[in-house]
């Protein structure tokens, strides 16, 4: 009981598979007309028996080649999707930065999107008002903040999304590969900020292919391979082994 108090994320025997449809029938008509074709459905197992316990305050890197299931695992932790088997528990307010442009409305301006995005993360207008200047300042998008975000570049999207995510007072932060679209300067700024959050005792799980930043920032690395945890432990050991095998 006492021990479970400082577990932030507990992934327990999680299995996840996706149905791959080759010809999707959504309506009754299609279903009747293409009855035979509907059988062309395949169940692909993406994650197999994942077990992880991430402690409060830990910074964990999730590494692995494309398609190994990293994003799927993060989506499960956020509760966008749910496991077929096993359980995932998270403790404390959770914020995630999974896909570029997620939780943004393309027609709204950057400023309006700060409100929209923060409200998706459960902030009230008052709370957002208080943070608005801070968010805009961190994003360095002052000159563009009143333009519609559909005119933003990927890097600008990411700047805004990251700036919102770090300002919503989450205890757990999940970040997928998206930091890589930022320029050198902003990426460094992000990592500096993450170090600061780490010092504040926030829990972070992030996906990156930059082994240098993994080494700099994380206490622990988890290597996913083909939907399974191949290795989990001390950053240097996992990264060295990963580099040895994949290069």
């Amino acid at each position: 009981m006492k021990e479970s108090n400082d577990i932030a994320i507990k992934v327990d025997h999680v299995y996840k598979s996706f149905n791959i449809y080759y010809d999707r029938a959504n309506t009754l008509k299609e279903r009747m007309l293409f009855w035979a074709r509907n059988k062309r459905r395949e169940k692909r197992e993406i994650l197999k028996d994942i077990n992880l316990e991430i402690k409060k305050g830990e910074t964990v890197a999730l590494i692995g080649v494309n398609g190994s299931g990293k994003s799927t695992l993060l989506k499960l932790m956020t509760q966008i999707i749910f496991p077929n088997q096993g359980t995932i528990e998270t403790k404390g307010k959770l914020t995630s930065l999974l896909e570029l442009g997620a939780g943004f409305h393309p027609d709204f301006s950057g400023r309006e999107n700060i409100y929209f995005n923060s409200s998706i993360f459960g902030l009230t207008k008052k709370e957002i008002d208080k943070r608005l200047d801070q968010i805009i300042e961190f994003s360095e998008l002052q000159d563009f903040i009143d333009n519609p975000v559909s005119t933003y570049s990927s890097g600008m999207y990411m700047r805004l999304a990251f700036s919102v995510a770090i300002n919503v007072d989450a205890e757990i932060l999940l970040i997928d590969e998206i930091l890589s679209v930022g320029d050198q300067h902003f990426q460094e700024k992000c990592f500096a900020k993450m170090r600061e959050l780490k010092a504040q005792g926030k829990t972070m799980v992030f996906v990156t292919h930059s082994m240098e930043s993994v080494r700099n920032l994380c206490d622990r690395a988890v290597w996913l391979y083909d939907g399974q945890v191949r290795m989990d432990g001390n950053t240097d050991e996992v990264v060295n082994e990963y580099l040895r095998v994949t290069t």
């Binding site: 749910f82 999974l98 009230t124």
Partner: protein
């Protein structure tokens, strides 16, 4: 219960959503918000002329008789029709971010309620200027609206989640609502029907809600509280069942959409 806390925490999102739905509906049209008045008025004009010739029987206030029913009926159908689209229409954010999905059907029913309250001005204008006037039975308005709100919430939970898996529901609902218009005493009086049909109509919850609205606005008499309380209890039950269906089905939203 947990759900109330969750909704409370996400109240800003709910507010934004409701505003977006109310504003968005007429945003790109020239007459804008005017349509929310013009629409029911034009519909009312058509019904009054057509059905008035057939069914009014010399009743000078027949158009008001319809108006009192048509406005809550519009709330009922709009909310259900929109419920069928709300999850599908928000596929983008459902696939990419977490937020309590319940917010979606709740916003639909809530924004509909706001529109309904605004449209009630039409009813008030009619009864005042025709000389029917107002009565103190109007104090029951919030109570009747509350029942309608809860009833719609239950339907909305079910419709919004089931449509994701069964897209035909969207069309089936259109047909059902069209039939339901005639199965509810909107343009005629219940007493004009044969007795056995009248009994069947009692099973339609909207019959009782429309009757109650008519009692307070048109007939100036006490609504049938016993029936309304039973309806309230059944609506709460439906909402609880609907919520559990929604909760179960929402787990697959991101993958089904």
């Amino acid at each position: 219960m947990n759900i109330f806390k969750k909704i409370y925490n996400y109240r800003e999102l709910l507010k934004t959503n409701v505003k977006k739905e109310i504003r968005g509906r007429y945003k790109n049209s020239i007459l804008g918000i005017m349509w929310s008045f013009l629409n029911p008025l034009l519909q009312l004009a058509v019904y009054s002329i057509i059905f008035g010739a057939l069914l009014a029987g010399g009743d000078k206030t027949y158009h008001i008789y319809i108006c009192v029913a048509l406005i809550p009926w519009t709330y009922f159908t709009t909310a259900i029709t929109q419920s069928a689209f709300t999850v599908i229409g928000n596929a983008d954010i459902i696939k990419k971010v977490y937020f309590p999905r319940e917010i979606l059907p709740i916003s639909v029913v809530t924004s509909g309620a706001v529109n309904f309250v605004i449209s009630t001005i039409i009813i008030l204008a009619f009864v005042i200027f025709s000389g029917i006037g107002l009565s103190w039975y109007l104090v029951f308005y919030p109570f009747i609206l509350l029942i309608q709100f809860i009833l719609l919430l239950g339907i909305s939970f079910i419709v919004s989640s089931v449509t994701v898996y069964f897209r035909d529901l969207e069309h089936i609902i259109g047909v059902i609502l069209m039939a339901a218009f005639y199965a509810t005493p909107i343009v005629y009086k219940l007493e004009q029907l044969p007795a056995n049909l009248q009994i069947i109509m009692q099973l339609n919850p909207m019959t009782h809600l429309i009757n109650a609205y008519r009692d307070i606005f048109y007939y100036h008499q006490m609504p049938n509280m016993q029936i309304l309380c039973i309806l309230l209890a059944l609506s709460i039950l439906l909402t609880v069942i609907g919520y559990f269906i929604f909760k179960k089905l929402q787990k697959g939203f991101a993958e089904e959409l």
